[in-house]
């Protein structure tokens, strides 16, 4: 019963050809092991937003995923510039995305609030000039 699936992914900086591949892969795994579709959707949206943030704001990073029978824990970390004011960054509409990124459709300033909305536990550790770690937990059985 103690089956744990562990996956590690590299998130390259500003490579939009493989942006979202890690979340897409995790989504597939969750579907395959029979997790309810709405939970698969919540999890993959939260992970996608964190993955994209690491890619465009954090100069790339890595994702570490652990899945057991009750939950998924996703840790997305980067060694980028960090977030100076996390409360401000969490607000819907706040974005520092440059024009080149906005032209692709990012920069609504909704990523972090999407992550919060779709995860059961969200923990963000960030330090200026050191990087950011986003820890997302989603439980498979909802009360």
């Amino acid at each position: 019963m103690n089956n744990v699936v562990v996956r590690d992914y590299i998130i390259p900086a500003n490579d939009f050809t493989i942006a979202g591949e890690a979340s897409s892969n995790v989504r597939k795994i969750l579907s395959q092991i029979g997790v309810a579709p709405d939970i698969v959707k919540r999890t993959s949206i939260a992970m996608y937003e964190a993955e994209i943030n690491a890619m465009i704001h954090g100069k790339g990073g890595q994702a570490h995923v652990e899945i057991d029978e009750n939950k998924i824990v996703i840790r997305i970390s980067d060694q980028g510039p960090g977030i100076e004011d996390l409360d401000l960054a969490m607000q819907e509409g706040y974005s520092t995305a440059p024009d080149s990124i906005r032209e692709m459709g990012f920069g609504a300033g909704m990523g972090l609030s999407n992550i919060k909305k779709h995860s059961d536990i969200l923990e963000i550790n960030t330090a200026v000039n050191e990087g950011t770690t986003v820890l997302i937990t989603v439980f498979f059985k909802q009360e």
Partner: protein
Amino acid sequence: MTINQLSQKLDLKIVSNTPKTTEKAVTGVYSCDLLSHAMAKINEGDVWITVHTNLNVVAVASLTDCACVLIPENIEIEKQTVERAIEKDVILLSSDKSAAVLCYEIFKLIKDL
């Protein structure tokens, strides 16, 4: 209504055909060009209308389980996006009409269902 039926009725061009065109039901329509905003708001079964044609559109479409992506005003769709869409089983449609007109026409069609 299936995507096939919708595209026949509104003369939409199917840019990436997947087995889903004859299966997936259209139940709504949503239009927004901010990806994270769209990601939060798109309901499963929606036709998502956006002017973006980059790879990220395929990711958002597949994560939200929207019925299909509809690109208005004959905007040219990047080749790599079409290829990725086929690979990810995401249906891309295209039309010469504007997003506003398309919303109106789709809404009219599905509200009678």
